[in-house]
Symmetry: C2
Subunit: 425 residues, 2 copies
């Protein structure tokens, strides 16, 4: 069950993990005090990259899919964490309205929805699923592969309350990232909505997340007396890009160059022999669309039409105008020869599981969130919540403790980001 | 890993479990609101008896040993629950002083202590062990079978703070049931002590616990519209008993008779063909000492000297003067032909695991907490937190949901009991 990891364990990461393990009481205490000051997001998943010399988050999803990819042994952890989440936000909650993505044919996604329903039910909640799809005009049963069914029902709004026929929920849980905008039917509700509408990709920006992460990583690095770069990728943004008309290309090329320059200095400092690369991606949006690996600024000005078309749109056909340029973090983890990156799941502030995203057709410097990827669940005994201070830092449970720490730093950044979105200055 | 259960699945218990499963959202909501009003005990274990027609707690331990008997797969659940407990009582906590029982040669018990230390450490706490034993005058290392060590250190009191040399903890965790009284060195401390000294057996009475349980079970039964007797054993007390001089025997015989009478009426109502029996045990104290099965009041007046000597003293040689007469609950669960009873563990208000106490030499109407018992861990997939509403009530995970519910009722009773002890009227 335990994936074999061929992580490049050169100096710094071992040092980093050793520091995490030694400082565990300090770290856990720091997180506890952070969660006293900041409201934790309802749930999240974080994509990590581990390059041996660096361990960093590269994407934080506030509407996580993929709960079906977690090791089934993690279910009780999910249930505990969900009970804690529900208690915190609304001890009165009994009825939860779950609003998923508008995928009625993507069985992988629907199995994720079924798993979220299972976790909620086992936490003692009444759960029903409301669909934003206009074609869902009555309760519609979908058979799932491997048994079980889901019932999608049309949403019914009465005044400022949303529900289903015969179901007046006290909480709305979104598993829809709102790439297409905040639906009118969900605005100004009396009920609590988690995550808030302002966490949707129609307004959320990766750069805001990583701005908040900068702050969190800086504070955490100071606490542990480490170089924040070891857990934090450089980034920059370009706005008003139009890939079709090539507007803004110079800005993009300049930012790429600037980040590559900064990386070269760090690579020399840490004796890293690899070529630096950056990832260019849409500042809003998800599903691994509109993402490109770049090793030289000249690649930006030399994009052909096909490449530009690919970068120009993301999910739901949205045009890309804001672009994030992010330091690329090599993934030197592999499973059976294929490149792998860990994805860590959290409910409330608890790490509840994770898996490796594996792609047999991609390189160590490429985005793995692409067709052809598959998932390897983290085995239970490797759960990120369970370091063993008496073992070596490269023991699997300890490696995963570091993953849990960095993922929770990204979760905290998401918390700051949502606070800023709720109280714009 | 899953013990084969030959539970006597006659009518009522299936009904009861079906009701628990159907009412799960109501039950969980009720528990959530209870925990808003009442401080949950730090940890607890509850002995249950399942007679097919009845499922009831018979003992609630507020200083649980036996964490080493839990399935190792439960460890992450324990860590989550411990994090929650620590956050609630003291987010500032980093240093925990654990005070165990004075057993330095009982390796089973010391492995329990090692497991509690492991849970605390993995929750990010600094933990050291302080011993009440006068012979521990300096740090003393004990080798554990199967590897690992424990270090016992002498307690150091300075003013109103307790600690160890070079260790000033912010929280004291007792795993010592204080049968011998509240030690002077632990009185009037500035630090928080969990559980409070008043939870110790020197002052705690089982009858107070079951008085509180009466109230909890009554309220819960009303919520579910069930007969409270199905989850609640009758009990009565006799004080000023002296088994040596036979003082108080008449009171005891009368109480035994009264309870047997009430049971006969219920047995007729529910068509139970077995003979009713009661358990006579010390109202204070633990470790399964001073316990007797009685089927007729005449047995009380006919006790021989050996039997009376056995009943007269409990742990640490304390004389028994207060006696609890408790309705006996048959255990119709067996594992490989031996009688078994479930023991459920909780940290904070989370069910974190359990095991079966099994005794090959005891009958269905006897106390199993006796030399010769052994333990069968509940397999992870049977964890009490995880009912599956789509399955039949006699599926293993559902059976264990019922165990988790009844255990939490006992936990809530312990909470009321501790409140009453802290604010005597």
């Amino acid at each position: 069950m335990v994936p074999h990891l061929t992580t490049a364990l050169t100096g710094p990461l071992l040092d980093l993990e050793r520091r995490f393990l030694d400082a565990m009481p300090t770290i856990e205490h720091w997180f506890r005090t952070q969660w006293l000051e900041h409201a934790v997001p309802f749930y999240a998943s974080v994509d990590l990259r581990n390059s041996g010399f660096k361990l960093a988050p590269v994407d934080t999803n506030l509407f996580p899919g993929g709960f079906n990819n977690l090791n089934p042994d993690f279910l009780p952890l999910c249930v505990h964490a969900m009970q804690s989440a529900v208690e915190k936000i609304c001890p009165e909650a009994r009825g939860v309205l779950l609003i998923p993505e508008n995928h009625t044919r993507n069985m992988f996604y629907l199995q994720n929805v079924a798993q979220i329903v299972r976790i909620l039910k086992q936490s003692g909640m009444r759960v029903r699923i409301g669909s934003l799809l206009p074609e869902i005009k009555q309760a519609t049963t979908i058979e799932l592969p491997g048994g079980g069914t889901l019932v999608l029902e049309p949403l019914v709004r009465q005044g400022n309350r949303i529900g289903l026929e015969g179901f007046d929920p006290c909480v709305v849980l979104l598993n829809n990232d709102l790439s297409g905008g905040a639906p009118e039917i969900l605005k100004n509700l009396e009920q609590e909505v988690y995550p808030p509408l302002s966490a949707g990709w129609y307004t959320r920006r990766k750069s805001q997340h990583f701005t908040a992460y900068d702050r969190v990583a800086g504070e955490f690095a100071a606490l542990l007396d480490i170089d924040p770069w070891l857990i934090n990728p450089y980034f920059a943004t370009c706005n008003q890009i139009d890939f079709h008309t090539r507007a803004g290309e110079e800005c993009l090329a300049a930012q790429v160059d600037a980040i590559l320059q900064k990386m070269r200095i760090k690579y020399i400092e840490y004796g890293v022999k690899n070529d630096p690369f950056v990832i260019v991606k849409a500042d809003a949006g998800t599903y691994g669309m509109g993402i490109m690996t770049v090793k030289d600024a000249s690649e930006i000005t030399g994009l052909n039409r096909k490449q530009r078309n690919k970068m120009a749109v993301v999910k739901e056909g949205l045009a890309v105008s804001d672009v994030l340029v992010q330091e690329g973090v090599y993934s030197f983890e592999d499973i059976n020869g294929a490149v792998a990156e860990p994805v860590v799941y959290m409910i409330d502030h608890y790490v509840v599981g994770g898996f490796y995203r594996v792609h047999t057709g991609r390189g160590v410097d490429q985005n793995l969130n692409a067709p052809g990827m598959h998932f390897e669940p983290l085995a239970f005994k490797d759960c990120c919540t369970m370091p063993n201070p008496d073992c070596e830092p490269d023991d699997a449970p300890n490696r995963f403790y570091a993953y849990g720490v960095v993922s929770r730093l990204a979760l905290l950044a998401a918390s700051l980001e949502l606070e800023a979105a709720a109280n714009p200055q």
